[in-house]
Homo-oligomer: 76 residues x 7
Amino acid sequence: MSEIGATEMLSESLGSFVLVKLKGGREVRGLMKSFDQHLNLVLENAEELFPDKEPKKLGAIIVRGDNVVIVSPSPR
Amino acid sequence: MSEIGATEMLSESLGSFVLVKLKGGREVRGLMKSFDQHLNLVLENAEELFPDKEPKKLGAIIVRGDNVVIVSPSPR
Amino acid sequence: MSEIGATEMLSESLGSFVLVKLKGGREVRGLMKSFDQHLNLVLENAEELFPDKEPKKLGAIIVRGDNVVIVSPSPR
Amino acid sequence: MSEIGATEMLSESLGSFVLVKLKGGREVRGLMKSFDQHLNLVLENAEELFPDKEPKKLGAIIVRGDNVVIVSPSPR
Amino acid sequence: MSEIGATEMLSESLGSFVLVKLKGGREVRGLMKSFDQHLNLVLENAEELFPDKEPKKLGAIIVRGDNVVIVSPSPR
Amino acid sequence: MSEIGATEMLSESLGSFVLVKLKGGREVRGLMKSFDQHLNLVLENAEELFPDKEPKKLGAIIVRGDNVVIVSPSPR
Amino acid sequence: MSEIGATEMLSESLGSFVLVKLKGGREVRGLMKSFDQHLNLVLENAEELFPDKEPKKLGAIIVRGDNVVIVSPSPR
């Protein structure tokens, strides 16, 4: 089995949509433009997702990495 | 694809309005005058936003970076 | 546009009233006597503000910087 | 008694399913592809588990280590 | 205006009663016997204060500094 | 009185059952196989305990030390 | 006034009962066997205290220091 690290997975996701689950329950989705080792992320065409209403468009955003719980490069 | 980092996005936002989502659910919006690597921000003409009432004017403010969840340089 | 940093804004606020929003929702207001790089603050004539009752006088106080969310040098 | 450390247990779990309990009550399960010393994890075929409804498929995910409470290499 | 720092204010409070507001809403009051740069405090004749009942005597206590929100050297 | 430190107590508990109270109220119990200076723990035959229902078997687990509140080497 | 520091107070409490208030509202009491500079504590004959029911015996315990809010060497 070849080991796939977090950095490799993030690098492959540059230019693709990712789903980001944040502390406190928030979720955002957007096109990943950059990341760093703290998981600070820059997303474009981002929107905040809600369990029971329509997504809210946010445009380009910076996510501070210490809020990130899960990054999913293959959102469904 | 050219990579756009957080610092570049913040630099381009100097002098423009940004939306800042904070831990605990607070949101503020204001004209960004400065930032540093911890995401400490100085905003002018800032106001706090509420889900169900009018924004409250705060004037010039300093936001301590460790409270920041999301900075959106293109609030709608 | 000239960049105004947090330190400059805080320095200009020495001797003036500032509004300080704290984690957990508390708010205090007082005359700023000193600050440091962690946003530890010394306020005089301070009072705690409440959404639905009269302010409570606290006198001189020290605010530990890691609790600070927003400092507003121009409270209204 | 031979001592079995966390790193050894994680290494043996590469390529196997693990259950991960996160701060705030979330739980995810997935095939562990990599880990580091902060307990940052890469999981494939991951799904989020809920106490009272069906699991939600997440695909490949990165879990930021500071959210991890418990990793169980032998979920039942 | 002469600047009065946190350390000076704390030094002047040695041997006097201080009010200490803690994270999570707790409040204690006591005679300050010592402090350090993390705001670890030693209080004597301390008591915990409650919004709606009588104070509870605690005697001598050590307060771990990272819980401190506000120290008021002039409680009323 | 001879002083018994945390490390000595943990060392003596290797191979014995310990009770671990975690932040947020969770409790787990298991056979301690290893620990480090951050209180990261490896437990075998672990189970999660609940105030009002049967324990849930978890098998072998890794507990991330920063979640630990209390370790009791002599659970009753 | 002679200054009594936290370390001196803790040293004098070795072999005596202390009351420990923890983040999140938990309280434990026990015979202090050791402490370190992070306020990690080893207590013997420890019990957890509750506002409205009988204490629960825990035996010997290790308390991780970052959970400690207040240590009172003279519980009543």
